[in-house]
Amino acid sequence: MSGPVLAAEGLTLRVADTILVDGINLTVSPGEILGLVGPNGAGKTSLLRMLAGEVEPTSGSVTLDGVPLAAWRPRDLARRRALLPQHTLLQFAFRALDVVLLGRYPHRDSSAEEDLETARRAMEGTDTSRLAARIYPTLSGGEQTRVSFARVLAQETPLVMLDEPTTSLDLRHQELVMGLLRSLADEGAAVVAVLHDLNLAARYADRVALMSQGRLAALAATREVLRADLLTEVYQHPVVVIPHPHLDCPLILPGGDR
């Protein structure tokens, strides 16, 4: 595996008197999916926003390809990393296809045919082709998420960051989206995803960063992090981890009193 695409050192974010993220070091390498997990308010989204260059850290630094994020020109950065926020609120009647084509914005030199072909492939992959002519604000929450995900794919970047990409998706489409991320990583992309569902992290992530109160409780290979004792402590609720009956990954369940 080649060196990391993205490297964060001592990332800290303080808003007013509250420390949201506290001195985090991590790297992301080509070919891997890094899952960010942790309880509500642990600082996952804040960390992702700093890694994406959206929010300036109070202290610490993030480098992409060895260059500090702040030194990148916006358009060059947009060709290197894509970001899927939690919700895209749109009050104008763009069709789904228009939204996906907007993902081609940073690729100024690509032809209209190339843009369309890329958008078409992204929509096929996300099972949104038949929504192409539908008006985005009239789509259901899950459909909007998939169209936004297609826009991120159409951006064709070697680094993809996603903030809870599977929330509001049904079971089949959760698997579809995670499977796409897996194949992106297998083709050499680096993927960072905030994941709420620990079982999706267990099945698809190569490494997991477990956050707790702004710090990294653990950052290691998925199996080493998603352990019953560690999860029970961080989530402050009994957690049971058993082998998946069919797949080669752990299965995580909430425990509790009988």
Binding site: E54, L89, Q91, R95, Y105
Partner: protein
Amino acid sequence: MTGLSPRKDVGAALGARWGKTGLLLLVLGALLAGAAVASLALGAVDVSPGVVARIVLHHIGIGGAESFTLQEEAVVWSIRMPRLLLGLVTGAGLGMAGAALQGVFRNPLADPQLIGVSSGAAFGSTVGIAVAGGALGGLAGPLVGLGGGLAAGVVVYSLSRHQGRTEVVTMVLAGIAVAAIGVAGAALVGFSLGRPELRSPLFWSLGSLSVATWRLLAVTAPLVGLALAALPFFARSLDVLLLGDREARSLGVAVERVRALVAGLAVLAVAATVSAAGVIGFVGLLAPHAVRMAAGPSHRVVLPGAALSGAVLVILADLAARNLHPPVEVPVGLITAVVGGPVFLWLLRRTRTQHGGWG
């Protein structure tokens, strides 16, 4: 039956929109030509379209001067032509500025008049004219008007932006207050102006093209033209901006810079039209909406389309203003308000039924 293949779905969606766009621009172009001929031909003295054509051709160097009377020539070329062109420039400027401001505010209701920019520009223009008069080659009105419009826009924008979103209620309320201040200020300062037609508060609140002269056009047209020429370069960035600030930034749009430049150019167009023809309401709302409904919200279509449809709207409204109660002229803003007000109400209702209103 295999149903539609994905390839066909995407292709059909694309084809439908391009077909609509071409047709729309063609129809708007034809409407503009028709409105222009009607505007030159109809009035206190009717001149036949054939004679109008010969006079225009004569003045651009084709054909002699023997086939029409001097009176006809004076009416068409010295009175109606500058008025037509001022209507064209004003309508195009207001239409495109409205579309651009709606993109910047990310809200389809951000009309230059509604958010106070027009009235701020009117206030600034009267101050400019009162202080500098005809000095600076007549540029004092539009330039100080630009300052007034920008100040109004900055006040409303900064009050209504909260956590990356535009709060509609705050935007509209702030717009009402700023517009009231602007109109009152313009009317008060207007009383001190030298030219009698600029002393009427009606001129500043409802507009008029009766002030049109070739000299006035020479000031207004280049300023509006600059905005009309520059704004379309931001079409794609404005499209991306509609997705939201986070999305736009992650797609490589320099969000703050694009916003500032687009708003500045739009307010320039508004200020130049207001200092020439007063505040003509609803054009910046009606024109972009008509285009969006016909061809979708992409600024690559909406910006030029809104300029064309705004021009058609103002030229036709002025034609009605001149011919409703001859020889008395009705303020042109009355006509646009009578048409635009109900459409605005209908839009509110439609928004409510389609996605729950503006909250």
